[in-house]
């Protein structure tokens, strides 16, 4: 058991553990809506577009967290704006927007010859989460989870039946924009742990695995949270004991959970119509 308890004598491990729990719960619960509303691509786009925000913040010596947040919110606003118009298909517009912004981020970082300085943001560093970053993660997690709890029934209704929601005066586009803002906040917390490139996996994989095992949204959120947190903790210990990249270990664990859920579903699933 010492391999389990000894690492916790280090401050950075305790900080990492709390970060894994907070980020796991936030991404898993929000991710349930992301998966059910088929917004996985948007989550990926917002995560990638934080790169130019991070690079610019680094170059100007301001908060990386703030830079990432500004870029994520700008992307969320851009996607919301594009969704309201039919000029090009939404997935096409997002594809253009996020690859373009990611390319800008790479260009600036290479020009500044500082790629390695924020590689921990690209690939995540759960052992490097600072106490200040942990406080910000906690604030964002509280904001995201609190908002979802407050608007749960509206979020659920606009997901399952936006037409009926519109009839009773509940605007589905408002709830979607709110979800985009929450997604931006969750992404900013996620990149601390698994990095820009892999954050969308935290949003999608645990929720997708859970959706294979249950038919209730509340249970799906609970299962996704368990999967995300356990993956975070396993990744944290793997990073400590075996000196592997924490973000990659976390995402691989999530993927293994997904494979297990898929196998379990195929073994025990009930036949369904529709």
């Amino acid at each position: 058991m010492t391999w389990l308890t000894d690492p916790l004598s280090f401050h950075f491990m305790r900080t990492g553990l709390l970060a894994a729990i907070l980020v796991g719960a936030t991404c898993a619960i929000l991710g349930s809506y992301v998966v059910l509303r088929r917004m996985a691509f948007i989550g990926d786009a917002i995560a990638h577009t934080t790169l130019p925000g991070l690079v610019i913040a680094y170059l100007y010596g301001i908060s990386l967290f703030g830079g990432a947040l500004a870029a994520a919110l700008a992307t969320a606003a851009g996607i919301g704006w594009l969704s309201a118009r039919d000029t090009v298909r939404e997935d096409t517009a997002i594809g253009v927007l996020f690859t373009g912004m990611f390319a800008v981020g790479i260009l600036i970082s290479v020009k500044a010859k500082s790629f390695l300085d924020f590689s921990h943001m690209l690939f995540g560093d759960i052992l490097g989460v600072t106490p200040m970053a942990l406080i910000l993660i906690a604030i964002f997690a509280f904001l995201v989870l609190g908002t979802l709890a407050l608007f749960h029934k509206e979020m659920e209704l606009t997901s399952v039946d936006p037409t009926y929601a519109a009839v009773i005066g509940l605007r589905a586009d408002w709830m979607r924009n709110l979800l985009l803002v929450l997604l931006a906040l969750a992404v900013v917390t996620g990149i601390q742990v698994v990095g820009v490139i892999l954050t969308s996996a935290l949003l999608v994989t645990p929720a997708a695995a859970a959706s294979l095992l249950t038919s209730k949204l509340s249970r799906m959120m609970l299962l996704a949270t368990i999967i995300a947190i356990s993956s975070g903790v396993i990744g944290l210990y793997a990073s400590f004991h075996f000196d592997v990249a924490g973000g990659a270990a976390i995402v691989i664990t999530c993927t293994v959970w997904f494979a297990v859920a898929l196998a379990a579903r195929n073994l025990f699933r009930r036949p369904t119509r529709h």
Partner: protein, 255 residues
């Protein structure tokens, strides 16, 4: 009926006018966004409270479009619609709308009971959670539509007829004074057909206004007081139902 503290839309929760017709259309024209032609052209009709009216017509005749415009899903490009004295889309706590089944994501992880419960949300508004009375109303309509054995099943496990009964249960859970039903008997089994007919009869006896858009004239012979026919988006006429005693047109419906 209790007004929600934080309604989803103050415009839509307008106070109904006394003595106002349940549904009144004056020279209503409706065009879908980016469409070249109007789907509904200069339709005028008045439906009094307590009426049971069928809107009939072939696919594309404009009957579903008219209902969508009435509940505020489509903007008008001419004329005016009033529901209980409020403009189109208004008074939604007193008007229940049953859309066609395809407009819902049936794969969403939700139970039948939970979906029926969403019919109470218009009375709850933002931040309020369903009370015991809401759950009691849900149970009552679930029993009435004979879906109690399905109540805790996931909605993607339902057959077409069961889906339709679930949606009608939700519309009834709203406890509205008027129900606008779009093709409620489309592609459903004989059992559901009979249950829906019985429920419509019960609602009518309770004084509710019922407007049903249907392309199946066969159903009208049995169930409706009056018939309004649409073709190419235009009103053709209104006819008393063959199976019910003739009614004075302007007593029930005037065009």
């Amino acid at each position: 009926m209790k007004h929600p503290r934080f309604p989803y839309s103050r415009i839509r929760h307008g106070t109904p006018g006394p003595e106002a017709p349940a549904l009144e259309c004056r020279e209503v024209s409706v065009r879908y966004p980016r469409a070249e032609h109007c789907a509904v052209v200069a339709v005028s009709l008045k439906i009094l409270s307590g009426s049971r009216v069928a809107l009939i017509g072939a696919n594309g005749s404009g009957k579903s479009t008219l209902l969508k415009a009435a509940v505020g899903l489509l903007p008008l490009c001419g004329g005016a619609i009033h529901l209980h004295g409020s403009k189109a889309g208004g008074c939604c706590h007193r008007v229940a709308y049953l859309a066609q089944r395809g407009e819902l994501d049936w794969r969403f992880p939700m139970t039948v009971r939970r979906l029926v419960l969403t019919g109470r949300y218009v009375h709850l508004g933002w931040f309020a959670r369903p009370h015991r009375r809401d759950h009691e109303i849900v149970q009552k309509v679930i029993d009435l539509l004979q879906i109690h054995d399905l109540a805790d099943r996931r909605i993607n496990e339902l057959s077409g007829g069961q889906q339709q009964r679930t949606l009608l249960a939700r519309a009834m859970a709203q406890e509205a004074d008027m129900l606008l039903l779009d093709e409620p008997l489309n592609a459903v089994d004989a059992q559901t057909r009979q249950i829906v007919r019985d429920v419509l009869r019960t609602l009518s006896q309770a004084g509710k206004t019922i407007v049903v858009a249907t392309h199946d004239a066969h159903d009208i012979e049995v169930d409706f007081d009056s018939v309004v026919q649409l073709s190419g988006g235009r009103l053709i006429n209104d006819l008393p139902s063959a199976s019910t005693p003739p009614i004075v047109a302007d007593q029930r419906i005037s065009v």
